[in-house]
């Protein structure tokens, strides 16, 4: 690709041999040079955290490649057979064709087990890198105008990735995934009035039925990947349209992007990075077992293994079910109302809703209509960072709860102790995390201010001719100062009456939220203030 770009397609034949001729041939028929010129000169800033989204993209490519391999051998049927492959402890055991073909992939197809493990490890990495990428976007404020919609697309991709993961996890029809499906079935049935009908629709009758694997397979390899590919394309298109964000620094403004052009530097780096990610996944898959279905055996509704958990990204939902106190179930109007299922369902739904709509919420609170291409340092948006920390704590508490039994055995604790502690973490933890994070952010801002105004302490004490002792401060250099003073500062919105001279309740809510966000603030150092502090090195 890089060779094509260096060629300015000319109307006359120049010396350059085959590549030049080929480039010219292509360009005359596709006008590709316009696209290459435009894209190739796109500038990308260099920072490690900007590569996390790329990791997700590359994991997805790895998943597509390894998944295609698996479809050659996997049979999504729940017809019953007696296993006759090479794994001794399952010989002759009755199981579904799906399970038998998964075992054949693992033991009798050359390279099959490696591909299964590549597929599964890459799937875990896919969702994990999306998660980390989202945290980066959130804490640096990269979701602000004009990128709110891209945040929504990205978050929908995260949900779809979880759906892909769960449908894939259920395909082998082993004991573990069957238990996972049973929990989903239970949650669906917990929805009052319609739950049972939805469950029957989903499973084609009473659980587990003989349809579910085939249906999940269609979703897993057809519908969900198609939507994901389309949304990834849209997501990337938006990145190109919006241009990339950059961290604050000398010379970086909302009107420029400082970094390397895609061609040749960035394309080479990113292309190489794909192989690095592939290499890491390959290493994981070569050396570490994942989802040993041969241990779990075929699904049978009666056994449940100790340590039955979903893959990590569904853990928060499993944790919510584990933490909800027992006994919240009543019969009203001839229907069973299982609040021990409904509360987690509604709670997690709200959580997802808040995360999805956060950019719009914050934009409404700040009332800021400007475009932002320079990222926030997390400390410079204390309330947002604190809300993020609270959300992370909430999620992490639920997540940890999914492994409550493993925590209990491995740290020699009681199961009840772990559960009650995590209940407290999920409910009180977010408040504590919010408070601590906000204070830490404000303290860091104060420190920054101090450094800008007075420089760094050097520890050098000087006695002046007049007998006075002073400590020499080293002033901060200009590049550093740029980073420390250039951030957007918001003040709480004042309550102003509208055209009719009234203050609407919506206005009140907005002003209240704004006060909550920006009441505690440290103003950036202005030039006047900086001027006054000069020559004042003590």
């Amino acid at each position: 690709m890089s060779t094509t770009t260096n060629m300015t397609p000319a109307e006359t034949k120049k010396s350059g041999g085959f590549t030049s001729a080929a480039a010219n041939y292509l360009d005359e028929r596709t006008s590709i040079s316009t696209a290459v010129k435009e894209l190739g000169r796109k500038i990308f800033p260099d920072h490690w955290s900007f590569l996390l989204g790329e990791v997700a993209l590359y994991s997805f490519v790895i998943i597509l490649i390894s998944g295609s391999f698996l479809t050659f051998f996997f049979q999504a049927s729940m017809a019953e057979v007696h296993y006759d492959g090479s794994y001794v402890p399952l010989k002759g055991v009755e199981m579904s064709v799906a399970m038998a073909s998964s075992l054949d992939i693992s033991f009798d197809v050359r390279g099959g087990l490696l591909m299964r493990q590549v597929h599964h490890w890459a799937a875990l990495l896919f969702v994990a890198s999306i998660g980390l990428h989202m945290l980066r976007i959130y804490f640096t404020g990269a979701f602000r105008k004009p990128r709110e919609l891209n945040w929504v697309i990205g978050f929908v991709l995260f949900i779809l990735a979880m759906a892909e993961g769960f449908t894939g996890y259920s395909l082998p029809d082993d004991l573990l995934s069957g238990n996972g499906l049973r929990i989903i079935d239970g949650m669906v049935k917990g929805i009052p009035v319609v739950g049972t009908w939805i469950s029957f629709l989903l499973f084609g009758g009473e659980f587990p039925g003989t349809d579910i694997v085939g249906r999940l397979y269609s979703l897993h390899i057809l519908l969900l990947p198609a939507i994901i590919v389309a949304l990834i394309a849209l997501h990337l298109l938006f990145v190109v349209v919006h241009k990339h964000t950059q961290y604050p620094g000398a010379g970086r403004t909302n009107n420029n992007v400082v970094g390397y052009p895609i061609l040749p530097v960035y394309a080479a780096k990113a292309g190489g990075f794909f192989f690095i990610v592939f290499g890491v996944v390959m290493l994981l898959a070569s050396f570490f077992t994942i989802n040993p279905i041969w241990n779990y055996g075929p699904y049978d509704p009666s056994p449940v293994s100790a340590g039955t958990q979903p893959d990590w990204y569904i853990g928060f939902a499993d944790g919510a079910l584990r933490l909800i106190p027992p006994g919240l179930e009543w019969v009203w109007f001839g229907h069973t109302w299982s609040f021990n299922i409904l509360i987690p369902l509604v709670g997690l739904g709200l959580f997802i809703g808040v995360v999805l709509s956060y950019p719009f919420l914050e934009a409404w609170v700040t009332g800021d209509k400007r475009e932002h291409h320079v990222l926030d340092r997390p400390r410079n948006a204390p309330t947002r960072t604190a809300i993020g920390a609270a959300g992370v704590t909430f999620y992490a508490g639920l997540w940890a709860a999914a492994s409550s039994d493993i925590i209990a055995t491995h740290f020699k604790l009681t199961m009840e102790g772990v559960i009650h502690t995590l209940q407290a973490v999920v409910i009180l933890g977010p408040f504590i995390a919010y408070f601590i994070t906000k204070r830490v952010c404000l303290a860091l801002m104060k420190k920054d201010r101090e450094i800008v105004l007075h420089g760094y302490e050097t520890g050098r004490i000087v006695r002046l001719p007049g007998g006075e002792y002073i400590e020499v401060h080293q002033p901060v250099d200009e590049y550093e100062r740029w980073k420390l003073v250039s951030y957007s500062d918001y003040k709480p919105l004042a309550l102003t009456p509208n055209a009719k001279g009234k203050i609407s309740p919506v206005q009140r809510v907005r002003a209240g939220l704004s006060r909550w966000f920006f009441e505690d603030r440290i103003a950036p150092v202005g030039s006047k203030e900086l001027e006054e502090s000069h020559g004042d090195h003590h």
């Binding site: 920072h47 001794v88 055991v93 693992s106 875990l124 994942i290 009681t414």
Partner: protein, 270 residues
């Protein structure tokens, strides 16, 4: 062996009529036969073990018992407020508890933990013989069931149905309530596995020979030994704990490596 069958009481009269005691005697004979047959059926191994233990071993075991166990289990092994009665627990129970180091118990807790074994094999055998001499109970299993040469597939299925909910499908162990737990079965000897099923130590239910036949127990042992002796085909097993250890590994080492590499790629050259 079954008891003697000479239950007739009193002299018989030559009257041509049945003695008034005849029906009583008949019932007594019947009861003794059925009871004896049942006893023979259910505890054949137990009584055999009792017979072979010599009186000397039993006496030695009694001394050891008095010195090491009687504080909690009582001088006549009939239990105290701090320890249960051992009448009828059988030699298998003693061999398991003492042979794995669980007894004598180090301290009171949710359950007795495995620790270095406190007695030699002879001492353990003597203790077992003594406890077995108190009353019939499950005996130490025959070696034919402990060779781990049974049907692994059937054993795996039985294990999943009966054992995996506490011990995990790969025998990696799991949590129970209030600090109790099902231990990992990795490295447990076939004899101890068999005895555990037979006697139901700690919080484990009893799987007696009516419930899971000795042949089935042999299959289960075969499966466990298969898992133990054949490393996971997929590479390191990460403790066979399932998705939790996989997820943790991915986040720490997988994503950790990836992040380190992104830092490396974007580092400014010096």
């Amino acid at each position: 062996m079954p008891r003697t069958k000479k239950p007739t009481h009193g002299p018989s009269r030559r009257s041509g009529r049945r003695s008034p005691l005849a029906s009583v005697a008949l019932i007594a004979i019947g009861l003794l036969f059925t009871g004896g047959a049942y006893a023979a059926f259910s505890t054949t191994t137990a009584s055999a073990a009792t017979d072979t233990a010599s009186q000397q071993t039993v006496a030695e075991g009694e001394k050891l018992f008095a010195a090491n166990c009687a504080t909690c289990h009582g001088l006549s092994a009939d239990g105290t407020t701090t320890g249960p009665s051992l009448i009828g627990v059988g030699a298998a129970s003693v061999d398991f508890q003492v042979g794995t180091g669980r007894m004598p118990m180090q301290m009171n807790g949710p359950q007795a933990e495995v620790k270095p074994v406190q007695f030699t094999e002879e001492q353990t055998a003597a203790l077992a013989a003594y406890v077995a001499s108190l009353a019939p109970g499950p005996a130490i299993p025959d070696a034919e069931y402990l060779d781990a040469e049974g049907d692994a597939a059937s054993g795996a299925e039985l294990f999943r149905i009966n054992c995996a909910m506490c011990h995990n499908v790969a025998g990696a162990g799991g949590a129970l309530t209030e600090g109790k737990y099902a231990p990992s079965l990795d490295g447990v000897t076939p004899q101890h596995i068999f005895e555990a099923m037979l006697t139901g130590p700690q919080n484990m239910p009893v799987f007696n020979d009516m419930n899971i036949s000795p042949e089935d127990k042999r299959d289960i042992i075969t499966y466990l030994k298969y898992v133990e002796n054949n490393p996971s085909p997929g590479g390191f097993a990460l403790g066979s704990l399932g998705p939790v250890s996989e997820g943790l590994f991915l986040w720490i080492f997988g994503l950790g490596a990836i992040v380190a590499l992104t830092v490396w790629i974007t580092a400014k050259s010096n």
